[in-house]
Symmetry: C3
Subunit: 434 residues, 3 copies
């Protein structure tokens, strides 16, 4: 590790503005109001619950009390990158050094956080200080987007209700309420998709997306089969497993029809196993499965050849499959490093693989998956450091590698800019010129 | 690689006493009697058989002859870490330099080993020289534990006979002999478990454990179903595959009931494929399967929320699944680096993953899996060197990483102590204060 | 990365002659005639198609036009190792610096390439300049081998027509034409195998080989079952999936009978998913599947204990399975780094695993898989650089590793020679003494 070179590269890359192509930020109030909200992020509550079992229970509704309760447990996770994110938030935004983080000091930390974060200008300051240019959101079809600042936020449509949850009566009722009438026929179903896309496009839609369970298989489904399944959902409620998969395949195809029509990408997020840990905190109960292949997506990727598919995978074991798909498939774009794979070891490996064999105009470097704007900076820094390391290594090896031209600092920075700015802009149709 | 820093760290970590939480040492005579016994360890015979085929046959009953036969083959495996373990044994215990290991010198080496190892004080000297504080054993329910030195050895119960082998008449007879009557009912089965735990707890039981085949699935099994299967085993002998799995799930649940009652952990060792190589040496016929998930353990881990599950995985492909489970599940503890994953490349990756996202109080650094006490030191040194490397790297990156506080030598050593001493002591309920 | 040491090692290793144990070179004209042929290699057309979609269509029949069309796209893949191979070809063989590779210069590059490559001595010059000692070929049973220079080329038999494609009438007709009569019975089938082996052995056969689909399972198949399947193929054409697998297992066993009889290895190439990308260039439509195990090969490897099985795996997830198999199985030899795993990240990991636990006389370092002789040098250089890195790292760690003897430059070079020359020669029965 050539520390000097890594640092030099990192500092320039860190000065790039941030385009964050996937977050869970709530646009009406993107920043936290206090450190308790920051600590309510599932990374902290789940790690605290794991380090010292609390039956998954914390005072989630009382940020002050949550701060008091979580703080003594942080020492047990001080080795983690998640703790490092928190310390970056503390230093950069609260002006508090890591040494301030001891249990007895919880009240001081909390009060200090309110002082900073409760300021009406806080969100604006945070965005300016962190040099965040654009933030993509995660939205449900019926989210209120009225008043959305489309010069900063890009809404993205989550498609689970259409694809995975249609068999749940309350979910179907939600869609029907949005449509304004019952969903009896496939025509009704197409119209609720159409109405959703029309709405999202009006607000500068980024893409449609889904967090896809392990074992999902895309395929052609006939209208007859789909109508039969819709009838069954309406008359009998939930479908059987196999039927749910068929409906899912049908519905995903229809969503991709809309993506095609409106020239919007579909962002695949592959490989989650939901609700497997029975004693976890909210959002801390999902895992992944190392046994999962991208083969289930062949139909979709082949059929929608004119739709772009940015793709993130949850399992390390799917990493090279994603790389190989992005290498030969024109419409697959490796996107970021997701959740359990969003840590230095797996980021480092995938960065190198992607830089070595995926066309450089196709790699989408990173997204934060943040729930509050405060997390964007520390998470991007984690990634940017690994990227700087990989680029520094590439510069060094180019000096002696028999096949390589000298790979200069300028080359490295251009590549970093491709991954962090140029590619996201082109692939998601953004315009930063203005 | 900052060699100076790695070495400095390594040397301090090497000075820690060794707590070895999983071995196959035979407590009545833990050390070898000569180098032939050392060479009979399957790692050497299997590698020799692989490098120069012997139909899996060596003079296992004649250590002197085995030494003569194996020695010429060692040159073919001099690149391996297993050879390095042997050279450490040679240097540290026999005072013989690696240069002494040439075929014609076999007799000298053998005689020298007898001179050292046949000494009645040898075991004591070895333990003192290697600074071994405690050794966990692998025991069958009916092992003779009378006279066990519980200040040094911790017996651990292997549960395969209850869970996997009950359909084999001779295995069932063994359990019945131990119980003192036939196992006709589930009550009988519970009593043989109870009798076993009572015995083991009397000798300071560490944990129950099982080496679990690929594809094992834990689940609820009703008493009716279990009794029916027990009846069938008694009347018809072996069960069908699916039935064996159901019995296995039932029996594992009952073992975990006992773990709960006696507050003992269950050590999962996940993912072996037994007896797949037909021409191997004894214990050199098993492999693993890259297609295996921890999803099969959800029921167990959720149901026995008050039982600790230290967990080792055999497949590299399950490494991140274990990390993610340990990250969110309160009762999963990543434990060591097992068998085919017990080599520098895979140890290095898993150390980094664990240190980055698993609470530091949950990581169990290493166990040797040794068959003779002599192997504990070289195997721990292999691990400690990889740990020193990871910690040195962490110290270096902390100097320039935008999210990190300086990670000092003291921090590094404290983390090493957590992994090697503090965590094993707390998780397995040891007391080193005395 | 100790650049000086890496470079020093690399330069000596680069001076070794090249023995390339798997290529697709066409022996009648092994070298390209112009740069357009080089660019028609699927690596360039598939990456170009992926970077800027062309519906998989390029002017493959017009090398000059292909050069004009591909050149502007190369900038989009200038980050890739495949681009680096091309630049090595340009520098080493055409004397053209990388800076010459800009779109407007396509005609100059093409003309220059014709000037060099159209020279009747070109192939000879290339082989001498690249220090290529021997090249293994990929041949169909009916390839014309008359006049093959067996002092340089080693023919290897692809067995897909016998094992995978027998249900396709035109494929069966081809075999029948070669045999000189219809294949009605298993005896006919054995005779076409026998005739093929006799022919190949006459030309210095290297081995039989197959690129094996995901999920393939080897097993015993009775003659009755096989004859029944042969009858069905003859009467009804293609078999059902399950039947195809049974025929495949039968036929592979018979091929291995012939390998046994003629003492030839069978080279397994495990884990391809054919024709999954619908819009790819020729040879750019296949991917792999991370969910695949070597367990399906147990029967074959156990039964043919006297047949050597050099083995390459396509999936990174099978890497440690291959290492573990090579570690204990006497007749499995890890061979090279194949296709999607043939890039620095995965090569680096597998080199280290193999060097640490596989007997050093069993590791087959590398093969190029090249379609033109020009690719052999750049691909071997990519591998040799990763090998030099791994060996330099081993030298450095040996200075401080508690278990290791000093691992010297001489030791490193000897190991490199084992992997690159000694082992391939012994395992494939070559004689370089003459």
């Amino acid at each position: 590790m050539n520390l000097t070179l890594v640092q030099e590269l990192y500092e320039i890359i860190d000065s790039f503005p941030i385009v964050d192509v996937h977050t869970h930020v709530r646009w009406k109030k993107g920043a936290a109001s206090n450190i308790g909200e920051i600590l309510s992020y599932h990374y902290y509550t789940e790690l605290a619950n794991s380090a010292e079992f609390q039956e998954g229970k914390f005072p989630f509704d009382d940020p002050r009390e949550l701060t008091r309760v979580i703080l003594p447990k942080l020492q047990l996770i001080s080795n983690t990158v998640q703790y490092d994110w928190l310390m970056t938030i503390s230093r950069e935004y609260l002006g508090l050094d890591a040494s301030e983080w001891y249990p007895e000091n919880w009240e001081f930390i909390f009060d200090r956080s309110v002082e900073v974060m409760d300021n009406p200008d806080w969100e604006e300051q945070l965005v300016a200080q962190s040099n965040i240019l654009r933030v993509f959101l995660t939205n449900q079809y019926d989210d209120d987007l009225e008043g959305l600042d489309t010069s900063f936020y890009t809404p993205c449509l989550r498609t689970e209700p259409f694809v995975l949850w249609m068999g749940q009566p309350e979910q179907r009722k939600g869609l029907e309420a949005f449509l304004g009438r019952e969903i009896r026929t496939l025509t009704d179903f197409l119209e609720v998709i159409e109405k959703t896309f029309t709405k999202f496009v009006r607000y500068g839609m980024g893409y449609a997306a889904m967090s896809i369970p392990v074992g999902f298989e895309t395929r052609y489904v006939s209208e007859d089969d789909a109508q039969r399944l819709l009838n069954k959902m309406r008359s009998e409620g939930q479908l059987e497993t196999k039927e749910r998969q068929i409906w899912g395949a049908y519905a995903l195809n229809r969503i991709c029809d809309a993506c095609r029509k409106y020239k919007k990408p579909f962002h695949l997020m592959i490989g989650v196993d939901r609700d497997v840990y029975a004693h976890g905190v909210p959002q801390g109960t999902d895992l992944f499965n190392s046994v999962n292949s991208m083969r289930g997506y062949d139909y979709l990727l082949n059929t929608y050849k004119d739709v772009r598919f940015p793709t993130a995978v949850l399992a390390d074991t799917t990493g090279l499959e994603l790389v190989a798909s992005s290498w030969i498939r024109h419409n697959v774009y490796p996107s970021g490093h997701w959740w359990y794979s969003n840590q230095p070891t797996d980021i480092a490996r995938e960065i190198r693989r992607r830089l070595d064999v995926v066309p450089k105009n196709k790699i989408i470097g990173y997204f934060s998956d943040a729930y509050y704007l405060e997390f964007i900076l520390p998470k991007f820094r984690m990634y940017k450091f690994e990227l700087a390391l990989a680029l520094a290594e590439r510069m060094e090896r180019s000096l002696v590698h028999p096949n390589m031209e000298p790979f200069t600092m300028d080359d490295a920075l251009e590549l970093a800019e491709d991954l962090l700015l140029t590619n996201p802009a082109r692939i998601f149709g953004l315009d930063f010129s203005g």
